[in-house]
Amino acid sequence: MSIEHRDDTGARFGMWLFLYTEVILFSGLFILYAMALAKYPQEFAEASHKLNIYFGTINTIVLLTSSLTIALAITAIQRNKIKQTLTLCIVTIVLAIVFLINKYFEWSAEISHGIYPGSNHMAELGPGITAFFNLYYFTAGLHGVHILIGGTLIGVVAAMVAKGKVTSDRYTLLENSALYWHLVDLVWIFLFPLYYLIL
């Protein structure tokens, strides 16, 4: 006797609240960054120059493109083009994987130079540079976890599109996943200049 209840606006409202919590989650790390930057401006600049800007730039382009493809996927499902929706979701997931592979090579290079949290080499570089790399690894690491979660989410929703559970008049789930993906993208848009560019 249960009466079907559906509230798309409510679902989007809830998703925006959730995105807000994600912003606060990352803001803790941004506070640590701001305080450490104020304390060690010279060391932060020095440490920032050790990062490879090409990796960062490529990843920025990859993520921005993936945001475009997931936005296109929503337009596709609104027009009831299921096959196109699926293709665009898969492209988004592939781009997420490209991002992580890129990250893997970037981190491997840095770790092989002895730069990772708790290493002996870091202890020799002094407190300012240590603070920079600790925050760099933890913030980018947490962001990487979000890429994994977001990619998985889009995969699950894509499967539901294929099964016909997410359709042209019932696509809030895809929309919410896309919102999540845009947020993950947005966090990176802040991380990239803070760690690679401005110092």
Partner: protein
């Protein structure tokens, strides 16, 4: 007492699944609320036993029943369980789930599946917290605040306890998202913002704090685990970190969290006082807005926990000032409750007695808070048992008594049976006396200079410590009596009708216990305010 069968068993007999799965997989807000209630009361009793053990240890100087390490672990686990597993979810998760959708005329919350997920997050958190006590390097001994550098260096099982707290934070946050959305989207026709019961307003304010502040706890706890795993030195001054910054991050969540704990309690009291005074709540909008004001101002005062940690004098001045600001909306609430009582037709039923005790205790706790919020006196009182006494006055004397009031007020609604009143009143008296003796003695010995968190103390503090310990026994007897009486009431109490108390909010217009869909096939249309008692008649029981 002979047991009379209930004519109507409501949502207990309506479920798509039968047996235990009908509960564990249910997305019905009432079943989830009952499951929360059961778990919260269980964890409460566990933590009460730990608290009694702490008091017993302090009956005499030197090791009485435990040594220093056990004492540290006991107060840590008492704190973690009481705060994260009992007080934070006590009213919002248990009674919020039970009452919120019905009070706004909805069938359920906005996201019923997410609601069940929150409950599972709670259970996972609870299990991890309990496993942390018995595994690894022993029970955590950091205090519930997990202050660095000790929390990143101790060999006890901090990782698992912190992960448990993280899951509980997640549970609380998802509940917050659910409640804010529900209150915005699912109010019945005619249920405008001006007709929301104050309990809903306080849950709404609370839910916002849960959404805004809990992620900060999340990141803080994640950083502790990362620090323990990698040894990176995030909070180590020698390696570019800042231990004071940890305290800031921790309190940015944990101070607003005390308003997560107290606001719903204030909401419960705002329902009970008008009902048992038979008089509309005095100053409806002042009550509604002051709830939001407490939530807002309470989010800006976190550093008043850190006057002694090292901060500029100017910062201390600002945080002290903001702390005093929070007292204003709190005082508005107290004055409005008292004004509601004025010339009311007061009926001293058990929920009302607990509500009156709340006002008394919370006034003491709140004024003690000002003594701690003022920098000059805080330097003297910091880290003494006065702080512990103050905290218990607000959290136990406040939220705890509000929780007991809510139990006595709403259990008949959700079980369909009334407990007997005489033992309930005696239990209330024991609780009230035991509570005040225990914590007033604790505050007094704190002013004399007894530091908190030590298993040992100087001989001159013994008299007051004995008083506090004896008080804790009275409290324990009161608790046993209250829970036994409520349990008997649930099992074989007199069946009650729709509205045993004569209250005007929506939950009392449907059968006790409520049916699965709350209001049946047709959604209710609200035509009057929550405290409009005209024509409302209490059912005999």
């Amino acid at each position: 007492m002979t047991k009379i069968a209930l004519k109507n068993t409501g949502f207990y007999s309506e479920s798509p699944r039968s047996g235990i799965l009908g509960w564990l997989l249910s997305t019905d807000h009432k079943r989830i609320g009952i499951m929360y209630l059961f778990c919260i009361v269980t964890m409460f009793l566990v933590a009460v036993c730990l608290g009694l053990a702490l008091r017993l240890e302090l009956i005499a100087p030197g090791p009485t029943i435990m040594g220093p390490q056990t004492y540290n672990a006991t107060f840590t686990v008492h704190g973690i369980i009481m705060i994260f597993l009992v007080i934070i979810p006590s009213i919002p998760a248990a009674f919020g789930n039970l009452v919120l959708p019905i009070q706004i005329g909805a069938r359920d919350v906005s996201f019923p599946k997410l609601n069940l997920l929150s409950w599972y997050c709670y259970i996972i958190g609870a299990v991890l917290a309990v496993i942390a006590i018995f595994s690894g390097g022993g029970a955590p001994d950091t205090g519930w605040t997990f202050y660095v550098p000790f929390s990143t260096q101790t060999t006890t099982n901090v990782n698992m306890a912190v992960t448990g707290a993280l899951m509980l934070g997640f549970s609380s946050m998802l509940t917050g998202i659910n409640f804010v959305t529900t209150i915005h989207r699912l109010r019945a026709e005619g249920m405008g913002w001006g007709r929301l019961p104050i309990f809903i307003w306080t849950l709404y304010s609370t839910a916002w704090i849960q959404v805004l502040a809990t992620p900060m706890l999340g990141i803080t706890l994640i950083l502790i685990v990362l620090e323990r795993v990698f040894g990176a030195g995030l909070f180590d001054a020698a390696r570019g970190g800042d231990p004071i910054l940890y305290q800031h991050l921790f309190w940015i969540y944990s101070h607003p969290a005390v308003y997560i704990m107290i606001l719903p309690g204030m909401g419960v009291i705002s329902e009970i006082i008008p009902t048992f005074s038979r008089k509309p709540l005095f100053g409806y909008w002042a009550m509604a807005i002051s709830s939001l004001a407490i939530a807002f101002a309470g989010s800006l005062v976190w550093a008043h926990h850190m006057y002694a940690s090292g901060m500029s004098d100017f910062a201390i001045l600002i945080f002290s000032f903001l702390t005093f600001i929070v007292a204003i909306p709190s005082a508005i609430k107290i004055f409005n409750w008292v004004s509601t009582l004025y010339k009311g037709s007061i009926q001293l039923a058990p929920p009302m007695l607990h509500a009156l005790a709340f006002i008394f205790n919370f006034a003491i706790g709140g004024l003690g808070g000002l003594a701690l919020g003022a920098a000059a006196s805080d330097i003297h009182l910091h880290d003494t048992t006065f702080v512990v006494g103050h905290f218990h006055y607000t959290m136990f004397g406040g939220t705890g008594f509000a929780f007991f009031a809510a139990l006595h007020y709403w259990l008949p609604k959700f079980t369909g049976r009334m407990y007997s009143h005489k033992p309930a009143v005696i239990a209330w008296a024991l609780l009230f006396v035991g509570f005040n003796v225990t914590y007033m003695a604790m505050q007094a010995v704190g002013i004399q200079g007894m530091p908190r968190r030590y298993y040992d103390y100087l001989p001159e503090f013994q008299t007051l410590n004995v008083v506090a310990t004896v008080g804790s026994w009275v409290l324990a007897v009161g608790l046993i009596m209250m829970f036994v009486n409520l349990w008997n009431g649930i099992r074989k109490g007199t069946p009650v009708g729709k509205n045993p108390w004569g209250s005007a909010t929506l939950e009392w217009s449907i059968p006790s216990p409520p049916p699965l869909e709350n209001f049946g096939e047709k959604d209710p249309v609200v035509t009057k305010g929550p405290y409009d008692y005209k024509g409302v008649i209490a059912d005999e029981y």
